[in-house]
Every structure is written in C-alpha cells, then in structure tokens.
Amino acid sequence: MAQTLKPGSGPLDYGSRTWLKLLFAAIFVALYAPIFTLIAFSFNTDKRGVIWRGFTLDNYVKAWNNDALQEALLNSLAIAFIATIIATIIGAMVALLLWRFRFPMKAAYEGVMALPIVIPEICMGVSLLLFFINTGMMEWSVGMPWPLNLSNIVIAHVAFCFPFVAVVVRSRLIGFNRQLEEASKDLGASEWQTFWNVIVPFMMPGLVAGALLAFTLSLDDFVITFFTSGPETVTFPVKVYSLVRRGVSPEINAASTVLIVITVVATVIAMKLQAPTKTGEG
C-alpha cells in the first residue's frame, strides 16, 4: 500500500497548518490595517474623520485647493527631483569607483560611504543642522528665491540618498562581463566611448532603480527635512505633521493617500528593474 501523508505534515507544508495561517493573517492585519484605514477614510464624508458616513471625493478636491498643502507638495517634488538627479550621479560615480579601482583604505571608504544608510536619522538631522548654521548656509538660503531656498534640504537629501543609489548600482555592476569592455576597446572605442556605449547601458536598470529609490526616500523624508528646513520652507511630510497636530482631517488622509500611491508605484518599478534579468550575460 502506498504511504499517505497527512496534509500539513510535510517538512515544507507548514503553510497549510491552520494556526500558522492565522498568525500570518494577524501579522498582515497589524501591518496594513492602519494604511488601509487611512486610505478608506480619505473617501469619508465625515469632517472629523472618525466615523464612516459615506463615500466622497471631496477631500481630494479640498486637499488640492489647499494652497499651503499645494506649496508643500510642490516643494517636496522639487526637492525630490533635484536631489534624485544629483544623488544618482554621485551614487553611480561612487559605485563605479568601488567596482573599478583598488586603492588603499578601500574597505574603510566603503564603510564610511554606507554610513548614512545606518546612522540614526535624528543624528544626521542634527549634524546637518549644525553644519548649515555654522557655515552660514541657513541664513543664506532663507533669503534666496525659490527653488534656491530649498538648497539646504536638497543637500541634506543628497547626503542620505546617494549611498542607496551606490549600493544598488554596484550590485548591478557585479554582474558585468569585463570582456564587454575589452571588446569595445578592441573594436576601436576610447575609454569615454566605452563608458557611454557599453557600461552606462548596462548600469541603466540599476540607475533607474536607484533613482526611484532616492526619489521615494527624499519625497517622504520627515526627520532630516524637519531639522534642515528654514522657518519659511515647508515640505509635504512636515506640513502634514503640523496639520495633524491640530487634528486629523480627511484632507490629510487624501493627501497622504496620494503620497502612498506615488511611493508604492515608484518602489514597484524600482523592484522590477532590480530583479535579475538575462541581459547581464555577454
């Protein structure tokens, strides 16, 4: 007679055990219920946003017409956009440096480079604030026209975004077949031509993924922005924070939902691009 196995008793079958399924469900609820509540209540007609009274899109219209929110969102997008471009360029250069060259203290440099990833945000915020005050940049930027008055925040965002780009691009470069580079030179291309025609196209998925990561990090950063922004400049997360202190309105829910959607879309694209592909083979 053939042996039979009770369902759920196989070594990799634990997913079918009831208590484990329940545990999974509980964890997912704990993780995502607050977010879904936030999204759901952005469609709520109730002004105070505590009890569900009916579906509406008014909150989105109201959030859109709120000048202060609009300005904050515009600031955030501008900062994220500029910081992403600079962070992607610097991050890509760091990745190339670490991939391509051997130099003394390389391991130490690599560690220091990754510091902004692990350092507590609050420490980074305070240190950047002190830096900007002591160099006089805080005062300087306050008097500048838009978007130059955002330069402090942009610099701060570049500082914590570029290591992420560097890490992503570098992991992409590990799969690079050096013979492609040699083939390019052998066929008559200069170093510069080889870089643009062969290495950059290979890095591209990493660059895009890194840039999207930097964009989302910059867009929703609160702590560092809070410390480094002048008294007049407000970004979206900072604005939301100040509004929440006066009570949660469905308007904030709506605005936050928009931010979540932007972040999730960017992250999904970044993950798709980072997924291993066949294009790495020579």
């Binding site: 492609l180 040699e182 083939a183 390019s184 030179k185 052998d186 066929l187 196209p201």
Partner: protein, 362 residues
C-alpha cells in the same frame, strides 16, 4: 617564409606578485597564416594573445605588428581584433548594431557602415537575424556575431581566444571547417589560442606549443606530430609510447641503445646523444601479430594483451611486455568481422619499423 605580420621580440610578462606568465618569447607570424598557440591551461598562451591585442602590456620586449612596435599601444589603436571566449556580444544592441559598433566609434560614414555590416553578416550567414538581440540567439550564433563584428573592421590580424570551447561537439566540427574556410576567403592572419590539440592540428598552418610561459616548439601540424623535439611535446600532442633507454653506442647516422623491455635496438638518428634518452612510437605505427616478425630489421616485443577498448573505427589495445613495459597499439578495424582480432590475455607479438621510432634527448 613570407613577410612577418606579427613579430614578437623577447616578450616577457610578469604579473604583480611575481608570476611570470610569458617568459622571453620570440617568434614571427607570417602574413596569411593560420597560427595556433597551443598549450595546457596556465601556460601563458592567453596572456600572449592579449598582449598582441593590447589588452595586456608586456613587462619587456617588443611586439611588432605590420612593421611597427606596438607593445604599449592601446587596443583601440591596433590593427588587430579579437573574438573573445565568452563572445562578449553587447547584450543591449541588435546583431546589426553589434557588428556596426566598431565602425561607428571610429567615425566610418553611415553609408559605408551599412554596406560593410551587410557584407559581414552575409559572410557569417546571419543576414536573416540582423534585428535580433543576442539573448534570443544560440551560442553558435552569438559566436558568428562576434566573428562578424571583428572581421568587419578588416583587421590585419584576427585573434581568437578558445573560439570553440563553449560549443557542443557537433557545432565545433562545423565551426572548425567554417573558420578555415573563412580564413582562406578573407586572407587575414588568424591567431588562435587553444588547449585542444585536435583543434590546433586540424585548423592551423603552424602551431606554437607553449608550456610554463615559454615556447617549446613551433612547427607545422605534421612536423609537430611526427618530429616532436621533446618528451613534453611528444606526450602533449596525440598519444605516444614513451620508453626510457640508455645509449650504448652511436655513429653519425645510427645509435644503439638499451631500451626498457626491448633490449638492445638499433635506431636511425643523427647527432650523437649519450646517457639517458627516451624513444617514442605512436600507437598507430605499431603492428600486432600472432607470431614473431620475419623481417630482420623490425623491432619486436612479445607480450600479453591486457586491455582492448573498442572505438568503432579503431580499437585501442594495451599489451604488457617484458620488464612491465606497456605498449599502446591502435588497430584499424578495417574488416566488419572480428573487430581488433585480439582479446584479453592473448599472447601476441608487437613489431614496428625502426624509422618510425623517435629518439628524444630532452
């Protein structure tokens, strides 16, 4: 010999850490040759090829290509092109773009590029796949792209690094023929690196055998096979029976030596070696017989068949003679019935002509 297209003069490459990959190598490669660098892995053949291409610079010595010393010239300024072992086809470009790449980066006009790319693709029979991306192609097809991409540049010398090693057996035979044909058609000097002696013997017009960073012998395939200059080469190229011997006496044209298991034998040989030597006989030059041979001059030994391996067209027989001397004999299975005609444990006589025997002093 025709005019040299590549001349190596005392080329030495020492890698950081002190490893001498190539040690004082000098030789010429003539116009239009199909030249093979053959050797076991780690013998320095690939390093030598990379130095000719410019991807590696020699520590000392000259590399003269087309009459100019190019030892320190970067690869993009040399009239050489390489087909890489991994093919190194650019994954983000179509086949046509891959082939056009070398012309585009050097500023060849678009019209001419288009025409030459078309010709090159035709030459390797890939015209119908011009718009494909490399990841939709087989290994053999990708190799053709790499070939077309190098040939479209009209180099003076085409360098091929282990071009057949990544292909399966059937494709390898096809490609071998095609490479020889291509070389005849385009009239470019080919330099191929390989560790496979069959590849070198069947394709090359001349072969340089390398070992430990130095060239051991440069010769045509048949010279290399029939007149190897050292035990290493006799053993590396094809199969061989190497028998240790001691010289007893020698004259201008003959030597008499005492060989293990064979006793005193007389062999034709110029030069008068003394002391320990080795004699070498290829397995296909040995004959098996049931009784001692009648001809007076033949060298003969009696033994017992230890092993018979059947390969279809031939059978490889191992016979154990006196003094534990084991001789490998290749028997042509030229009759349908009977196979090799011997079986294990059978007593046989082995004999061969003295002039088929090689005397190796090194």
């Amino acid at each position: 010999m025709a005019e040299a297209i590549v001349s190596l003069r005392n080329v030495t490459k020492t890698f950081p850490g002190g490893v001498k990959a190539v040690d004082d190598v000098s030789f010429d490669i003539a116009q239009n040759e199909f030249f093979a660098l053959l050797g076991p892995s780690g013998c320095g053949k690939t390093t030598l090829l990379r130095m000719i291409s410019g991807l590696e610079t020699p520590t000392s010595g000259q590399i003269v290509i087309g009459g100019e010393d190019m030892a320190l010239t970067p690869p993009n300024k040399r009239p050489t092109n390489m087909v890489f072992q991994s093919y190194a086809v650019f994954p983000h470009m179509t086949v046509a773009d891959n082939v056009a790449y070398g012309l585009k980066v050097t500023g060849v006009p678009a019209e001419e590029t288009k025409r030459r790319v078309g010709e090159a693709l035709e030459m390797v029979k890939l015209t119908h796949l011009a718009a494909r991306k490399p990841d939709q192609m087989s290994g053999g097809q990708r190799q053709r792209v790499a070939l077309a991409r190098a040939l479209v540049k009209r180099p003076k010398v085409l360098l091929l690094d282990e071009p057949l090693s990544a292909l399966d057996a059937k494709l390898r035979d096809e490609m071998r023929l095609e490479l020889t044909r291509l070389q005849e058609n385009v009239g470019i000097t080919f330099i191929i690196v390989t560790h496979d002696q069959d590849e070198a013997l069947s394709m090359a017009s001349r072969i340089a055998v390398m070992d430990k960073g130095a060239v051991q012998q440069i010769a045509t395939p048949s010279e290399l096979y029939e007149q190897p200059t050292s035990r290493f080469i006799a053993d590396f190229i094809g199969k061989v029976n190497l028998i240790n011997a001691k010289v007893v006496s020698s004259t201008a044209k003959k030597i008499v030596c005492d060989a293990k298991g064979l006793g005193k034998i007389e062999l034709p040989h110029t030069g008068s070696p003394t002391g320990d030597i080795a004699i070498a006989i290829r397995p296909e030059k040995l004959k098996i017989a049931g009784s001692p041979p009648k001809a007076a001059k033949t060298i003969a030994a009696e033994g017992k068949v230890r092993d018979v391996a059947y390969y279809g067209d031939t059978s490889h027989v191992v016979v154990r003679c006196k003094d534990d001397l084991e001789l490998a004999v290749n028997v042509q299975n030229d009759k349908r019935a009977g196979g090799s005609g011997v079986e294990r444990g059978q007593k046989v006589w082995i004999h061969w002509a003295p002039e088929d025997t090689l005397v190796l002093t090194e």
